[in-house]
């Protein structure tokens, strides 16, 4: 059934609103992905305060300044699982079927869910920037740098949310989506989110060199520490955009196969 763009947009807005409100109505889901990254940032600022003088570390005033980008990425990665888990719950409890029975745009079911977690990702980035600001953590790139990091939070949450939606649409199980959480944890740790790649060695360094999260974090870090540059902006925005395009295509394909199997 072909729908008018305005009708599809109306469905998308309604479903986006629903998914956004659902996230903020569950503080038990929202809280940990805001609190834990800040806890680790506070922990790191005390534990690794002397590490910033090591060769390979950029010139920063504090470890907290260095770890800002890692904190944002960590929080957004962990928070973005929530939307996909909610999509799986919709499938489990039959809401997904009821949406299909109604004349609802199929793609808006997916993008409506992704909108909620993406807005939450942007909000997380903003919260981290605001909470760490009184501790002297600023973004040298100025207002454009702040906006870029918030937009990167949105894009990263969208990209990861789409990837997790593939699992949700394939399995229809919220547990399976939550079960992929360790993969994100591993990807984050095998990157330069917490320490510079220049301080790593051997196979670990090679993995961090291949991990796109390293470059995404380093772009944000460069905006925060060095200031505005085209390279930093490209790394901050183009990498999550590229991943988002790829994972969205995968999610749409998985949506098609779920619809075709019915």
């Amino acid at each position: 059934m072909r729908r008018k763009p305005a009708e599809t947009a109306r469905h998308l807005v309604a479903l986006s609103r629903r998914s956004t409100l659902a996230i903020f109505r569950q503080p038990a889901l929202v809280g940990p992905s805001l609190i834990f990254p800040l806890f680790f940032a506070a922990l790191g600022s005390s534990a690794f305060s002397r590490a910033i003088s090591l060769p390979g570390f950029p010139a920063v005033d504090s470890y907290l300044q260095f770890t800002l980008a890692g904190t944002v990425t960590q929080g957004v990665l962990f928070g973005s699982v929530t939307g996909a888990a909610a999509l799986a719950t919709d499938i489990q409890d039959g809401f997904f079927d009821r949406l299909l029975a109604a004349p609802t745009s199929r793609t808006s079911i997916l993008f409506g869910r992704l909108a909620g977690s993406s807005l939450f990702g942007a909000m997380q980035a903003l919260v981290f920037l605001l909470v760490l600001w009184p501790f002297g953590v600023t973004v040298q790139a100025g207002i454009l740098g702040y906006i870029s990091i918030v937009v990167a939070g949105f894009l990263t949450a969208f990209a990861v949310g789409a990837l997790m939606s593939v699992v949700a649409l394939k399995t229809g199980s919220a547990e399976a989506v939550q079960g992929t959480f360790p993969v994100l944890f591993i990807l984050l740790f095998l990157s330069s989110a917490f320490f510079p790649r220049e301080t790593m060695s051997g196979a670990y360094r090679r993995i961090a060199d291949l991990n796109p999260i390293s470059y995404m974090v380093e772009g944000q870090r460069s905006l925060s520490i060095d200031g505005l540059s085209l390279t930093a902006l490209t790394q901050t925005l183009a990498i999550p955009t590229g991943i988002a395009i790829l994972t969205t295509l995968l999610a749409l394909r998985q949506l098609q196969s779920r619809l075709a199997s019915r």
């Binding site: 922990l43 690794f48 002397r50 590490a51 090591l54 390979g56 591993i186 320490f195 790593m200 060695s201």
Partner: protein, 259 residues
Amino acid sequence: MNTQRTVGILAKRSIRNIRRLPSAFFPALAMPIFNMIVFAGTFFAVTKIPGFPTDRSINWYMPLGIMMGAAFGGVGLGFTAIRDIETGFYDRLRMTPTSRTSLVIGPLVGTLTRIVMMTTIVIVLGIALGARFTGGVLGVLCLYAAALGLSTIGAGWGLGLAFRFKDMRGAAIMQLSIFLVMFLSSAQVPLNVMSGWLHTVARFNPATNILRLSRVGLVNESSPDHLAWNSVWGGLLAIALISALTLGFAVRSLQKLSD
């Protein structure tokens, strides 16, 4: 049925679950291995900070991986107890003519056996990745003692909470409390390297003493902590006192559950 026999039966049941429920055991084994590898890899350069007691990051983070695995393995006993309470297995156990203490000690023995297995596997892997015991056999024994001690503390705490809450509400408290106690210590770097609020907290956190005990055989021979009694007794005392407290809490909570 005498206490010794009940302890043996419940310990065997706990060990048999490794084969019956590998999905529960393998994450408990994967977590310490993962922690060891990612911490040693990410923070490879921290050993270059002046005053760091070892020049191998794996020597510092292998005990951390094991101790995290031991602590969470211990509180994992609480999860099993919650499941047993929910399925009614505990009700059947409490109807048997056996002492309440054996209902705590039996599963604890099973958990400690699992911790020995986990510790051995992580040590072998750690050595393959470059860890070296500068303290020889004594160093290895200190690491096992610390792991078993911390696991006992975790088990007592987990069981106590499980008997009090009787449902999964207790599980969140178990995990969060162990997580905080472990990270607010010298888990990531030694006391002399850290600064600020964490230094103050870690100094008074008994987990710091237990971690120090676990590392006495892995720090450089020139380090003041190397096989030093000063670095051992604090950990042993912390294990003895806190184990007594948490196991006492578990037995008391079980008695209340029976009332």
